[in-house]
């Protein structure tokens, strides 16, 4: 029983888990408060924002594509949620759905450009990022919006209710659970992996792969915007470029979790591990009061070291 379970968990997940243990041990040696439940729960709360973004990034990476529009879709989610909160007083019920709809809109355009126009995702989503940025700059006139987050948004991102666990973690758990079901238990999920392995084979099987691609990009947009809404709730307001620090960590987390950047391989458990590794690493580097320069170097070195340990390609020689 245990043996089959261990065999089912692949090597990158184990390595990432080992990385988490090492980071926790190292942090614990530096300061005992690092291992306190309060601190760990706070890390989980911070990780859940990255985790939701990484979920969308993973869906797209599994296809063998990439979504570079994440930063400004996050910002758009934050700004549109607080703007909608301002329009629909009292209560601001419109805030969350409107943010998600905006994210889905950008994601749909991304998907159509990549699937039907056959433009490489790297350049098309880059252009959509610029468009989302342009729309937000026009919307806010370049200033931070004055509208505040609604109580519901703050409840979701900073509140703690069930078992004293931050609500953001529960939100991530729901998103993650749905993703695991989607990837493992539905035809859509199978097709995601199939496209990542061979889009030609999918086409020849008379499966409408383009719809799957559009669906994944729409999901990525929705999740990024949703995370932006949560971030706006976390700091009670939205601000320019609030999504910029999330693109690279999200991709790093997905890849550290063992998902192949070429698509077709990867597990959600790995992505969770990758998100935790990246969050803990950032947190520890912040705590030991290392100057920013050293933090950047160590962050890069750790990612390279972990990738060299298990993220390497096949030996060439064809």
């Amino acid at each position: 029983m245990v043996a089959t379970l261990v065999r089912r968990i692949d090597k990158p997940v184990l390595a990432a888990a080992g990385g988490i243990v090492l980071l926790l041990a190292g942090g614990g040696l530096y300061s005992s408060s690092f291992l306190s439940p309060g601190y760990l729960l706070q890390q989980l709360q911070v990780a859940s924002f990255l985790g939701i973004v990484a979920t969308g990034a993973m869906l797209v990476i599994l296809l063998g594509q990439i979504d570079l529009s994440v930063p400004w879709v996050i910002t758009m989610g934050g700004m549109m949620s607080v703007a909608a909160a301002g329009w629909a007083r009292p209560g601001g019920w419109l805030a969350i759905p409107f943010a998600v709809v905006c994210g889905v809109g950008i994601g749909l355009v991304n998907g159509i450009g990549v699937a039907y126009l056959r433009i490489p995702s790297m350049i098309f989503t880059l252009g959509m990022n610029a468009i989302a940025q342009g729309l937000m700059v026009v919307h806010t006139s370049g200033f931070a919006p004055q509208d505040r987050a609604t109580p519901t948004m703050q409840f979701l991102s900073v509140g703690r209710s069930l078992l004293g666990i931050p609500n953001a973690v529960w939100v991530w758990a729901v998103v993650g659970g749905l993703t695991v079901l989607l990837l493992g238990r539905t035809a859509f999920g199978r097709r995601v992996y199939a496209i990542g392995n061979s889009e030609r084979a999918v086409f020849l099987s008379r499966v409408n792969g383009n719809l799957v691609v559009v669906g994944c990009f729409a999901a990525s947009g929705a999740l990024s915007a949703f995370a932006g809404m949560l971030l706006a709730g976390y700091s009670t307001k939205a601000y320019q470029a609030m999504g910029d620090p999330y693109l690279l960590p999200a991709i790093a987390a997905v890849v550290l979790g063992g998902t192949s950047i070429l698509g077709g391989r990867g597990t959600y458990l790995g992505t969770i591990m990758g998100v935790l590794v990246v969050t803990l690493l950032q947190s520890i580097l912040g705590i030991v009061q290392m100057p920013e320069a050293g933090r950047q170097v160590i962050y890069g070195l750790v990612i390279i070291a972990m990738l060299l340990a298990y993220g390497r390609g096949e030996k060439s020689g064809f």
Binding site: I66, L68, G113, L117, R118, I119, P120, M122, I123, F124, L126, G127, M128, N129, A130, I131, A132, Q133, G134, L135, V137, V138, S141, G142, E199, R200, V202, F203, L204, G209, D244, L248, I251, A252, V255, I261, L262, P291, E292, A293, G294, R295, Q296, V297, I298, Y299, G300, L301, I303, I304, L307, L308, G311, R312, G313, E314, K315, S316, G317, F318
Partner: protein
């Protein structure tokens, strides 16, 4: 599309023979240069409108400013092109650009000898950064996109270490020379680009290792089977990318006469370089295109911003407009879908 030309021409061929082969090869030459020609035409049209609308007209200052701004992005775009030819990618070009800027602002001070040593140190740093990227991709067998993402963090850390706060300075005479113009009114930056194309890019493209880069981008397996030095070719593309990024960092230092570890600047140059490469007609799948197209692609992108300025467009609308232009430019490439005979060819 396979863009490896026929055999390198043996030295002692008669002029008539060369002309004959040019006559038979011209459709190939034209189609391989189409992207660059379109970008050049676009740039020429946009720049003509810009100069005719500019209050100062076709003056030395206007041309010089435009050349310097364009050359910065053009150098980074040339850097990006070379790994892209092998269907790789270098996401660290922007950070090498920032790192070398910070290094130049520290080293390139004092007399001529110090400045010359500083220039050498900056270029060697660029080569070293490129060599690290190349080693991770070729020897470490990491995916280029994620490996260069990680190294860009390291290079930015180096830049921050050198310049925790903006400042520094460089030899003013050197800076004035690099950003000025020659007696004929030709900007030095343009001469620099021309020199790099004539004495750097073209010899590289015609060399065995340069052709190997194209071959690897077209089909790595076929290239390997044909005895092409795949590993060496890929490694060299990253080294050259580091060198060109360092040249851009050098030019930036001459323009600003200071150094700044600016993460936003590095990130935006990395992303703009990808856009310039695509606008310049290089395929992100590798094997087709070239650095000359990327230069024009970079100038097109920079001229768009200038055009918005002379037409008094509200600066708030500029980012949106830039995004739309970028998407339209890459969307035009989808017109090829209308000519596809077998839909299976659409999928990889």
């Amino acid at each position: 599309m396979i863009d490896v030309l026929p055999q390198p021409r043996p030295g002692g061929r008669s002029l008539r023979g060369r002309l004959a082969s040019l006559r038979s090869d011209w459709p190939h030459h034209l189609s391989s240069a189409r992207g660059a020609l379109i970008a050049f035409g676009l740039f020429l049209a946009m720049f003509t409108v810009f100069v005719s609308e500019h209050p100062a007209g076709f003056s030395r200052n206007v041309v010089n400013t435009a050349a310097n701004k364009g050359a910065l992005l053009a150098l980074v775009a040339m850097a990006q092109t070379i790994p892209v030819l092998t269907s790789g990618l270098d996401l660290s070009v922007g950070m090498v650009f920032v790192l070398t800027n910070c290094l130049a602002s520290t080293l390139m001070v004092g007399n001529a000898l110090h400045t010359a040593l500083g220039v050498a140190a900056v270029l060697v740093t660029g080569l070293a950064c490129g060599a690290l990227n190349g080693a991770l991709v070729v020897l470490g067998r990491l995916q280029p996109i994620i490996a260069t993402l990680a190294t860009s963090s390291i290079y930015f850390g180096g830049a921050l270490w050198l310049r925790p706060a903006p400042g520094g300075g460089i030899n003013e005479e050197f800076a004035d020379f690099m950003t000025g113009s020659l007696p004929g009114g030709i900007p030095v930056a343009v001469v620099l680009l021309l020199g790099l194309v004539l004495f750097g890019w073209i010899p590289y493209r015609r060399s065995v290792i340069g052709r190997a880069a194209y071959a690897v981008g077209s089909s790595e397996q076929a290239a390997y089977m044909s005895g092409v030095p795949v590993a060496r070719a890929k490694f060299l593309t990253y080294v050259l990318a580091g060198l060109f990024s360092a040249l851009a960092g050098l030019l930036l230092s001459c323009l600003t006469e200071s150094g700044e570890a600016n993460a936003m600047l590095g990130g935006s140059y990395t992303l703009s370089s990808i856009a310039a490469v695509v606008v310049g007609g290089t395929s992100l799948f590798g094997g087709a295109g070239g650095a000359v197209g990327s230069i024009f692609g970079a100038f097109v992108l920079r001229t768009i911003g200038d055009l918005l300025f002379v037409f008094n467009m509200d600066p708030l609308w500029q980012p949106l407009f830039l995004g739309v232009v970028l998407l339209v430019a890459v969307g035009l490439g989808s017109l090829r879908l209308l000519r596809v005979k077998n839909r299976l060819d659409l999928f990889r």
